[in-house]
């Protein structure tokens, strides 16, 4: 193996990953929030562990079960991800696979790069490690052993994932994916023991996660029997290394699968386009209900129809329906579920349903505007160069958003609100208000970003701004909902007032959208 070549590929991959983070200030801010956000939980958790160890009354078995379940879940996810085969972004196919690099060299570079990139996300765990060591006054040997066991497990996980991904790329078929899915399932089976009377426990199965959990908990709680578990972990590591070494000889380059994103922070137009294309390929097969017909009477109607076709064929409509079905199920289970012991007083269903509608009705406009931005904003050159009235395009886009974000929740949630005895007027008011305000605000923010030439801005940043603005303008609706729950205040008068207020906000933002769209450069 050529170390220089491996190092070059490693550098390139790491730069590609972090380049996407550096490309947007929002990504950097997000990473800082991610790391800092975990700190309070980490400090609290390490203190709890220290207290449990010092008090001596902790249930070690429970800690083992918990840690083994968490790490088994990670392994299971890794195996399920391997089902896609070995995936690479386009630049790697074009740049690296066309060089004289050998598969093994590429895999080693990839493994090291993945570990490096993962360190960024594992920073909170690293803080936890330091705090646990310090608070428990563990010896240098113990600290080293914890680190060693963790690294062994991480490598086992990576070797296994790489081995299975390559194997999946080399041998498609039916049995291999089935076997992988079964292994992923088996890894999670002992979790059932926590919820049912089944005698299933992680501590009784020879999983790598069990060995890791027993080793770590054994060291932390000063148990002496962790050496055998460490040996078990070493065995798994060795096995995964051998399998990795064997597969890495095979030329899997022509069988790799191309993925859109270089890293989770990738906001490149190419990555976004690939995502949209994939959705259209999936959803256009099952959604041929709507068609753009030449016989549509008004141009406005045709434009609205075109937007609804887009939402249907790119999957937005399906996602919205799915989301509201989840809301519906959540509402039913929370209100009528066995744990709640039936209906809990007159206001309980109202509180649950209002809370769920308030949260989810704001997500829908965000999703609609985000998807429009991804799939249709780049096609604005067509109406722009046609001399069409851009105000009409703006209105049609907004009205289609409002139509979908009102109709879907109304159809799904209004019957259930009547069934649960919740005032349907209250739910209707919230849905309409969120739709009017949310859609206009979200579309406006998206267009502002497009207009300023930052159309590729991180969706998270656009999302934050949109959600914040929407929530501010939705405040009257929330206040009214809160008052209605407690005092049954929602009369027709308040309902009408809320609708009028939402319509005014929508009109104001529509004017802003029209103005921004008319003066855009594409």
């Amino acid at each position: 193996m050529r170390a220089g070549l491996i190092l070059s590929v490693y550098r390139l991959k790491v730069k590609a990953f972090f380049g996407a983070v550096r490309a947007s200030k929002a990504s950097v801010a997000f990473m800082l929030f991610y790391i800092l956000g975990f700190l309070p939980s980490i400090i609290g958790f390490s203190m709890a562990v220290a207290e449990a160890v010092k008090s001596g009354g902790a249930d070690i078995g429970l800690y083992i079960e918990f840690l083994a379940a968490a790490t088994s879940f990670l392994m299971s996810i890794a195996i399920l991800l391997s089902l896609r085969g070995y995936t690479v972004p386009e630049y790697e196919q074009n740049l690296i696979f066309t060089s004289p690099i050998k598969p093994r060299e590429f895999l080693v570079a990839g493994l090291l790069a993945n570990l490096t990139c993962l360190l960024l996300f594992l920073t909170p765990l690293f803080f936890l490690y330091i705090l646990v060591i310090l608070s428990l006054n563990l010896s240098f040997y113990s600290a080293l052993l914890i680190l060693f066991a963790s690294i062994l497990f991480a490598f086992t996980l990576f070797f296994t994932k790489t081995f299975l991904s390559v194997l999946r790329s080399l041998y498609g078929g039916f049995w291999l994916p089935l076997l992988m899915a079964v292994i992923a399932f088996l890894l999670l089976v002992p979790t059932l023991g926590s919820f049912t009377a089944l005698p299933l426990k992680y501590s009784e199965v020879p999983y790598p996660s069990t060995f890791l959990a027993k080793t770590l908990i054994g060291i932390i709680f000063h148990e002496t029997s962790h050496i055998n578990d460490l040996l078990g972990l070493i065995s798994y590591f060795t096995l995964s290394l051998i399998l990795f070494a064997l597969t890495s000889k095979r030329n899997f380059f022509p069988l790799t699968r191309q993925v859109a994103v270089v890293s989770p922070f990738d906001i490149s137009i190419q990555a976004q386009t690939m995502k949209v294309e994939k959705s259209i390929r999936t959803f256009s097969k099952m959604s041929t209900i709507f068609k753009l017909s030449i016989d549509s009477n008004s141009l406005h109607g045709l434009l609205i129809r075109k937007e609804i076709i887009r939402m249907t064929r790119e999957g937005s409509l399906f996602a919205i329906i799915l989301l509201y079905v989840v809301v519906l199920l959540m509402a039913i289970f929370t209100i009528r579920g066995p744990a709640s012991g039936g209906t809990q007083g007159p206001s309980a269903p109202s509180i649950v349903l209002v809370l769920l509608v308030s949260i989810y009705s704001l997500i829908i406009p965000l999703m609609l505007a985000g998807n429009w931005n991804l799939s249709d904003s780049k096609n604005l050159w067509i109406p722009f160069s046609s001399g069409a009235d851009m105000r009409l395009i703006a209105r049609a886009t907004l009205y289609s958003f409002i139509l979908v974000s009102t109709a879907v929740p109304c159809v799904i949630l209004l019957p259930i609100s009547i069934f649960l005895g919740v005032n349907p007027l209250l739910i209707l008011a919230l849905i309409i208000s969120a739709s009017f305000v949310g859609c206009s605000v979200n579309l406006y923010v998206s267009i502002r970003f497009l207009r300023s030439g930052r159309g590729g801005a991180m969706p998270l940043l656009v999302g934050w701004i949109s959600m914040l603005l929407s929530s501010i303008f939705m405040a009257p609706a929330y206040i009214l909902a809160a008052l209605s729950i407690s005092e049954t205040l929602l009369t027709m008068f308040f309902f009408a007032a809320l609708l009028a207020y939402s319509a005014i906000i929508m009109r104001i933002f529509l004017k802003l959208i029209e103005r921004s769209m008319s003066s855009m450069e594409v």
Binding site: I280, L292, I294, K378, I382, F384, S386, G387, A388
Partner: protein, 267 residues
């Protein structure tokens, strides 16, 4: 012949980059006009300003005598435009896209139907008319974009690199369409890097460099202006006129070659 497109002292910048520096240009009625220039010369910017996708910083653009700053919408009914990198609504079928393009341009329904049938026939898209744009090859997408630009039968057709991605038969057919439109009094304004095609197809060309029109006219006048000789091809004229742009990289390249000979291939 009357001017159908006139650009007078047009300036345009992107942040610190000056794309156009007082560009003057005139396209006459009934001609095929080619806009040539090296990469970054300002060709796409020029076309985008004419069709209203970009706003100029200053200057005057007239299309059929209409100042587009004063009347920014109405003149577009005379124009059909195809950009260089064609992005189309992938979620629509070919037929739906043509309907959409026709309707937003205010074309009557019966005419949309008629022209749609005509263009899917001549662009060999008949089998694809009910397929999603997403499923088309690059060449096919280009053909759909051109059909969409022709759906309102515009007097002026503005195309940015129209031959890229189209097979030789398609290119031939496209040239036939251009000639046929010009015979009917239409005007074609294309931007291209394909100098041999421009030489055979265009009545007149303009060579722009660093946002300025360095020369325009027919091949004969260009040969004479550049003193390239009467047998010089458009490519030779182009290279001579843009020599200044070529010289600098050549010097840099020679310097790199001198200092780092190992970087270059040797048998």
């Amino acid at each position: 012949m009357a001017s159908v497109i006139e650009l007078i002292d047009v300036w345009k910048s992107y942040d610190s980059f000056q794309a156009l520096r007082g560009l003057n240009l005139e396209v006459k009625e009934g001609e095929i006009f080619g806009l040539l220039g090296p990469n970054g010369a300002g060709k796409t910017t020029t076309l985008k300003i004419i069709v209203g996708l970009l706003k100029m910083d200053r200057g005057i653009v007239r299309v059929k005598g209409v100042d587009i700053s004063e009347e920014p919408y109405g003149y577009k009914k005379f124009i059909g435009y195809v950009p260089e990198s064609v992005s189309l609504p992938d979620y629509l079928t070919v037929e739906e896209l043509l309907i959409y393009s026709g309707r937003i341009r205010g074309v009557p329904r019966d005419q949309i139907k008629e022209r749609m049938n005509y263009y899917v026939e001549i662009f060999e898209l008949k089998d694809k008319r009910r397929e999603l744009v997403l499923s088309l090859s690059r060449g096919m997408r280009q053909k759909v974009a051109i059909a969409s630009a022709l759906i309102h039968d515009p007097e002026i057709l503005i195309l940015d690199e129209p031959f890229i991605g189209i097979d030789p038969a398609g290119q031939h057919m496209l040239k036939e369409i251009f000639r046929e439109r010009v015979e009917r009094g239409g005007t074609i304004f294309i931007s291209t890097h394909m100098l041999d095609t421009a030489e055979r197809l265009c009545d007149r060309v303009a060579i722009i460099h660093r946002g300025q029109n360095i020369v325009s006219g027919n091949l004969k006048s260009l040969q004479s202006l550049s003193k390239s000789g009467e047998n010089a091809t458009l490519e030779e004229v182009f290279l001579k006129l843009t020599e200044e742009a070529r010289e600098q990289p050549s010097e840099e390249l020679a310097e790199v070659k001198r200092r780092r000979p190992s970087l270059f291939f040797r048998r």
